[in-house]
């Protein structure tokens, strides 16, 4: 599966609260971050944990979040490792809004 996102792109972590195991930490759900790199591809942990016979294999990305976006304060960055289906491309309008804020 080729990687959908490239370094530098802005992505939003899908909001939502899966019933089973997931590796999308709650504190980044719904948040916008920046793709640092694609790490390679691995079986989706959610499906592995659910006992799916042939789990989907997806790219996993290092995604950097600004502390100010996550917590409303702080000058540091937090990077989180996220499977591709956890994230979607951040909308252009949203990006413009952020730039203007």
């Amino acid at each position: 599966m080729p990687a959908e996102f490239r370094a530098g792109e802005r992505v939003r972590v899908r909001a939502g609260d899966p019933a089973g195991h997931t590796r999308a930490p709650r504190y980044v759900r719904g948040q916008v971050g920046r793709i640092v790199e694609c790490q390679g591809s691995w079986e989706l942990a959610d499906e592995v944990a659910a006992g799916v016979a042939a789990p989907r294999v997806e790219p996993v990305y290092t995604v950097a979040f600004a502390a100010g976006d996550l917590w409303g304060e702080g000058g540091h960055e937090v990077t989180v490792d996220l499977w591709e289906s956890y994230i979607e491309r951040a909308e252009r309008a949203e990006r413009a809004g952020e730039d203007g804020s």
């Binding site: 590796r23 999308a24 930490p25 504190y27 790490q39 390679g40 691995w42 942990a45 996993v60 290092t62 950097a64 502390a67 996550l70 917590w71 702080g74 000058g75 540091h76 960055e77 937090v78 990077t79 989180v80 490792d81 996220l82 499977w83």
Partner: protein, 196 residues
């Protein structure tokens, strides 16, 4: 089974799980023992310290390590293949203006083969919840006061990668041997909660 558990309730829970798995015929006691022994054999922060000392001593190795740590590790006789499958390793380098620190907020992911079993505080809720939110304050509590203009990155290992910090080489160590340099490196330095 190691007898080294610091938390008796957790050890008891682990043992009950082991007994259920053995009772269900999923694994045998011998397989469990062999698997644990293989994982922990040679697992020690001495490995991480050797990697750091080599990187400080050999600029080519440092560049290869930062570009593709898995490919560089065999140069020092190490690999990330000690577990069920080879894990990806990412080494992040501290500089005069940047500092890195590691955490696993979801559980306790950690490069066991390079750093040995993780310290109990690394698995504590306090560390896991606070270091992503206020790393500067947490590091200060570890005795590491960073300048205000040092950029901090917190690496939350939530998937299949493991991380290791390459600390800055201490001053006054020109001409030191790799063994002498390695002796300066601490486990906390490789996690990022100490300078070296």
């Amino acid at each position: 089974m190691s007898g080294a558990h610091t938390s008796v309730p957790v050890a008891a829970r682990v043992r009950r799980l082991e007994e259920r798995l053995i009772g269900a015929g999923v694994v045998t006691q011998e397989q469990l023992d062999a698997s644990l022994a293989a994982m922990l054999q040679g697992a020690s922060p001495v490995n991480g310290a050797r990697i750091a000392a080599r990187a400080w001593s050999d600029e080519g190795f440092r560049q290869r390590l930062l570009a593709d740590a898995n490919a560089a590790l065999p140069e020092v006789g190490l690999s990330m293949a000690g577990g069920i499958q080879e894990q990806r390793l990412k080494v992040v380098e501290n500089t005069a203006t940047t500092h890195h620190v590691l955490v696993c907020t979801l559980c306790s992911c950690y490069p066991v083969g390079l750093l040995g079993p993780s310290p109990s505080w690394y698995k504590s809720e306090a560390y896991r919840s606070r270091v992503v939110r206020e790393p500067r304050a947490v590091l200060a509590e570890f005795g590491l006061e960073l300048p205000d203009d040092t950029a901090i990155t917190v690496w939350d290992s939530s998937a299949e990668s493991r991380y290791m910090v390459l600390p800055r080489r201490p001053g006054g160590t020109a001409g030191w041997s790799e063994a002498e340099l390695a002796a300066l490196v601490t486990r906390e330095g490789l996690i990022g909660t100490a300078a070296v």
